[in-house]
């Protein structure tokens, strides 16, 4: 049925014209010294790439830091999200629909406002500190709750956990439940049954959530500014500053270095890249 292949055409065309071509243009920029903004004049150079790796090492340092923070946030999303997805999958069919809608609904309100709300929760005069004060547990506000890497990660988990829950739910729902019953009948403890039967079957969902949580966090720069304080600066913050200085070539170089790192990581997670494996397990 080669006719099926035509189905790829629209998406492939869109991706090539609206993504690949622009990226090639950006790649050219990243390899040129331009005297004046956006001019493709000047000479070929790898100076932008060298700058990414030099500059007192800040770009590499922050890139590594960003990856570590994204990994922690992704792990937290999985740890918190898995049981949550399990809970949803264990309810009746009718409830599943309702609960899934409830999971995705917060997404439909402003990203910005939801992040702001966290400053009203974690801040010195925020919900938590006011409550602790009211209950006379503390007399000074806990100021380590906001404007640091901790609050940044909390907000990332909050923002991205629905992706993880949806992906894990999808694979839990497809899981063959009778295998679990069989394992239990054969004397497996719940923990054993989970580790040896449930988890392996849902790994595709876990991989999918890694892709959809980890990658977007690498590109975050609004949340770090709003709740990350001075210690929460991430790589895209640096990139955005460069773009605002009209350094498009250098900005592109940073982006391509990030993209290379991510692709290497993804290839490490080979299965996640392979759709087939992703959904068949």
């Amino acid at each position: 049925m080669p006719r099926l292949l035509w189905g790829l055409l629209p998406l492939a065309t869109i991706d090539v014209v609206l993504f690949l071509v622009p990226m090639v243009i950006m790649a050219l920029f990243s390899l040129r010294f331009s005297e004046e903004l956006l001019g493709l004049t000047g000479r070929w150079t790898v100076a932008h790439y060298i700058k990414v790796f030099t500059s007192e090492g800040i770009y590499l340092h922050i890139l590594v830091k960003t990856i570590v923070i994204a990994l922690i946030a992704t792990a937290a999303c999985l740890l918190v999200g898995y049981p949550f997805a399990y809970f949803i999958a264990s309810t009746s069919r009718r409830w599943q629909g309702v609960l899934l809608t409830l999971v995705i609904m917060p997404f439909w309100t402003s990203y910005l406002l939801r992040v702001y709300a966290w400053t009203a929760i974690l801040g010195d005069r925020g919900l938590i500190n006011e409550a602790l004060h009211f209950l006379r547990i503390t007399d000074q506000p806990l100021s380590f709750l906001l404007f640091n890497v901790f609050s940044e990660i909390v907000v990332f988990v909050y923002l991205y956990i629905p992706y993880a829950v949806l992906a894990i739910y999808a694979s839990l729902e497809k899981m063959d439940r009778s295998l679990v019953l069989a394992a239990m009948d054969l004397g497996a403890t719940p923990v054993q049954a989970f580790l040896r039967v449930v988890l392996p079957q849902t790994l595709p969902g876990v991989y999918a959530s890694i892709v959809f949580v980890f990658i977007p966090i690498l590109g975050e720069y609004v949340t770090p500014t709003l709740v990350g304080g001075m210690s929460g600066v991430l790589i895209t913050n640096l990139l955005v500053n460069q773009i605002h200085a009209l350094e498009f070539g250098f900005g592109a170089a940073i982006a391509f270095v990030i993209a290379t790192f991510v692709l290497v990581l993804l290839l490490g997670l080979r299965r996640s890249v392979d759709l087939e494996r992703l959904y068949v397990g």
Binding site: L37, G229, H244, A245
Partner: protein, 388 residues
Amino acid sequence: MTDRHAVLQSLVEGVRGGRLTRREFFSACARLGIGLVAASSVLRTLGGGTASAAALQGPLNILVWDDHFDEPELKDFLATTGVKINTSLFDENADAYAKTKLVGGRQIDVVSGDALWGPRYHQSGLVDPLDLSQFESAKELFPVFREISFWKVGNRSIMFPWSWAPIIPYYDPRYVTPFNSYEALFDPKYRRRIVMEKTPVDIMAQMGLVTGAKKPYEMTPAEIKAAKEALIRLKPNILTFVEQSNQFVQYFVNGTAWIIANAHTGLDYRVKQAGGPLVKPVYPREGYVGFLDGEMVVKNAAHRNAAMAWLDHKNQAKYVVLNFQKQLRALANEKAMKMLQQDPKYADLVHATGYDQPDVALRMILKGPPPGEGLKMYIDAFNEAIAR
């Protein structure tokens, strides 16, 4: 339109007859979608144009800060000239500059900018200087704003001046001892108590003032390095940068911030209004930066006449008054200032914001892009400081 009909027809027939392949179905759907969008944009344009019987060509495309216009003048302009205005907003001068450079007069007629960005636009051949004497509403300006030296090209001005404000520190006297120098910001007792708006170039310029740079927006590499060291020294005291200055009010009101290091004048009033403490402004002895902005007409603007008419229209005192009442910062229109002085509710504010003292505007160190490689060096230094 006929095309769209044909597509729809064929789609319906195809489905009925069961002849359509998946591919045809999808391609038809895609064409339909694109057609719908195209049709809707055509309709929108028509909708704007039908009212216009006047001579002016529209619609007018303006790339603008959102405090440079408001609903009443847009409505009135449409009513009197029939020209619809498409507004696109931006926040960084550099963004608007890049977009203007890429898109040009065909799609942008008017662009806003800060003081020294004007000459930059002009040097890059992006804008046409204006003969201010052609505008009725320019007669309402303070004379000093008609003669801004760095905007002069012959007897024309690169910008039509709009508003200005100093960017200065404010402090909460409940926690902070009065000060008159930036040095106070570095006091260890203010650890994690300072909040700043994230404006990299201006923050570097302020740090330049701290370290004694001669021209904060044209620092030498050595001065940039010193400014960077100062920022690194200040970092422990900075609680956070904010993306939008309305958070300043929030952090003063709830006592999170003791000092805001770079606010526009009028913050004291706004904090009070929001139920916060009476915070105090500081005009540091090292000097202070500030903005003075305006509008430029893009070179080869497709709707040049409408652009000129719009500038004349929106700079009228009656609209400037409304703008002041909403934004509470000084503007360039003198007539509006006099009207506001008559209003007991606003007379004090006119003085507090410096609206009645236009010479203050000329004493500020005006915002602008560091020339040449400067901008790049400022940002590199800023990045190196915050990434440390």
